[in-house]
Amino acid sequence: MADPKYAALFLAESREHLRTCNQLLLDWERTPGASEPVNGLFRAIHNIKGMAATLGYGPVADLAHRAENVLDTIRGGRTTITPDLIQLLFRSVDALEKAVEGAAAGKGEPSARLLAALDRAGAGGSGPEQTGADGSSREPTGVGGDPALARSRPLPSAPAPAARPPARPPGHLVGVTIRSGTPMRGARALLALRRVEAFGKVTALRPPATAFEREDFDGRFSFHLRTDTAPAEIEAAIRAAGEVEAVAFDANVAVETEGPVVAARQIRVDLSRLDAMMKLVGELVVARNRLLDLARGDDTELQEVAGSVSRLVGGLQTQVVAARMTPVSEVFDRFPRLVRDLARDLGKQIRFEMEGGAIELDRSILDELGDPLLHLIRNAADHGLESADDRQATGKAAEGRILLSAIRERRTVAIRVSDDGRGIDRAAVLARAKRDGLADAAVETLTDDVLLRVLSRPGFSTARQVSGISGRGVGVEVALARARAMGGSLEVQTEQGRGTTFTLRVPLTLAIVRALLAQAGEERYAVPLAYVAETVEFDPRAVTALRSREALVVRERVIPTVHLRDLVAAKGNGLPARRPTIILEVGERRTALVVDALLGQQDIVIEPFDAPRGLPSYLGGATILADGAPALILDAAALV
């Protein structure tokens, strides 16, 4: 039992169980009459208790045991379910989290008060503390010992922030089976899915879309389609995708009720191992590039071997990168609970929605996203959304909405935090900026770009008091800094009275990136291909002016230019005859970067970079090229 392997397993398994518990509690809060969440909660906590008891983690086992009792009492119908009881369970899950994390170190004792409350609840009543956060818990409800009283107090329909009766969405549950023996059933399934997306919104896709890419996908999937279209038409559309064996509707569909599919053929790998593999592969890629360079001579045998090595390294790189890819839902999943708690604390009604959870990112990038997103979401809840009264006064629904979404772009992923709140008051920000000397007195209005820059100045905040929940400035500053550190970008769009959207854009993978090499003067620069829309010739006849800056007309778009030579103050002899131009694209914005020469594409390893003070913002890192010489990496986001 002293084997640290068991402690690690306990930690990993318990964390998963607790994640499930949070999710189930949120579901349960929305539909208090459902029995499924209770059973799921019971199982999860029972599991934690078992492991903790085996390992001798007293506090964890004890707390889990009491929580288990409460759930058992609920299952047996011996207690009424009230918002306070659910809140008690939320707090218990939090306490369990702390206890689990501290278990190995012998810390994390749950509070005596909490234990007592659980005891009371487990005895067949609800033993809440008077929280008073929502009016309904002023008086003890469902007091044990007086069954008549308990029965006469059904669950109050309090305006609790996240508790709404679920609307039965119009539409159908659809189950599809792809013919067995068909090659690439997953791709076929995807085609079928795309055909029905025209009819309405697809939700509750089981298994999740990531399973479609797996070789062991068995061709069966189900989803809910929100639509008025008749089943016959839906079926016809699905079958038009080809190779469809069967389509079933509603009651005839066997849906998997478990959570996200955990395939049997997985193993847990320590993240540090994947990091080590990534580092090795990175160096292997650089060495491979050098080998290819050196093999350009006449030695055909060397060329052959170099070619072989190249393919193998490429294959290895693909596999390691893929092994590190993780769905963003891993980070997203902590937020529904967070928003629910925020809504309670702020006394606001907030509906929190998430989209694109199945989209995958490199694990290390994903790990960095948690904090910035946390800040942005808190900002949205605290500053973005108005109180229910204020909203209704302006004709909005009382419930505010925050949407967290992930969308895959060419080689980046855009993660958006949107609220339908009051928007950012540009005039107020501008006034404050002028007062702080951050903006020129003559400036009339703030564009989204400049707004972001001002908002992200350290310490900037228009919040009247800095509440425990961060003022706008801190959040934006952190988000921007993190985004840039990852080679990504942050943008804001806001409309007064309508809402605000922050877009955090990150590359798919971090360490090894395909880049375009360019020359300016005597130095070489690398531009990550993720931000290269295309390359063109700098044609003097296509030059024009845009707001008194030089610009280039490219396929009817006017794009401002930047001459890399001038930017880096390159020394060189005269201008070359032709000047290739790289069209950089970050989200919607573009810049035409004019260079002296293009030197082809290369996989580069982004070396960790301790940026010295005063380094221009357009430099985002450094790398070693195939021939062993260094090159600086340009930060596209800083140039557009």
């Binding site: 690439m184 995807l190 085609l191 995708a241 895959r408």
Partner: protein
């Protein structure tokens, strides 16, 4: 009036085989491309009713080419031709805008079925 087709694959053998299957079935193969870059250019010139696209090609791969073509023409009808074991790439291609796919080695009947599905 028969449908026009652009066939994209970096192997002459494959292009020939696909063109034969299509021509014999009454389609009109009006162009061939051996790289993603050529595919994009020829699509612009020829505006075919259908494109068959190999996934792995030099100078811009098939998936990138699908993206570029769909940028120009969101209604482009592209059929991906993939080797076995590349499901993830096929999925990516579909997400980029491809309408259907066939897996090598080809059976002429399957190719033609897929073409019919894409053309609608």
């Amino acid at each position: 009036m028969s449908h026009t087709v652009l066939v994209c694959d970096d192997a002459i053998f494959m292009r020939t085989m696909i063109s034969d299957i299509l021509n014999q079935a009454g389609f009109d193969v009006v162009g061939e491309a051996e790289s993603g870059l050529q595919a994009v250019q020829k699509y612009r010139e020829l505006k075919p009713d259908l494109v068959t696209m190999d996934i792995v090609m030099p100078d811009m791969g098939g998936i990138e080419a699908v993206r570029e073509i769909c940028k120009q023409d969101p209604d482009a009808k592209i059929l991906m031709c993939s080797a076995m074991g590349q499901q993830a790439l096929v999925v990516e291609a579909i997400q980029a805008g491809a309408k259907d796919f066939v897996v090598k080695p080809f059976q002429p009947s399957r190719v033609l079925e897929a073409v019919q599905r894409v053309l609608g």
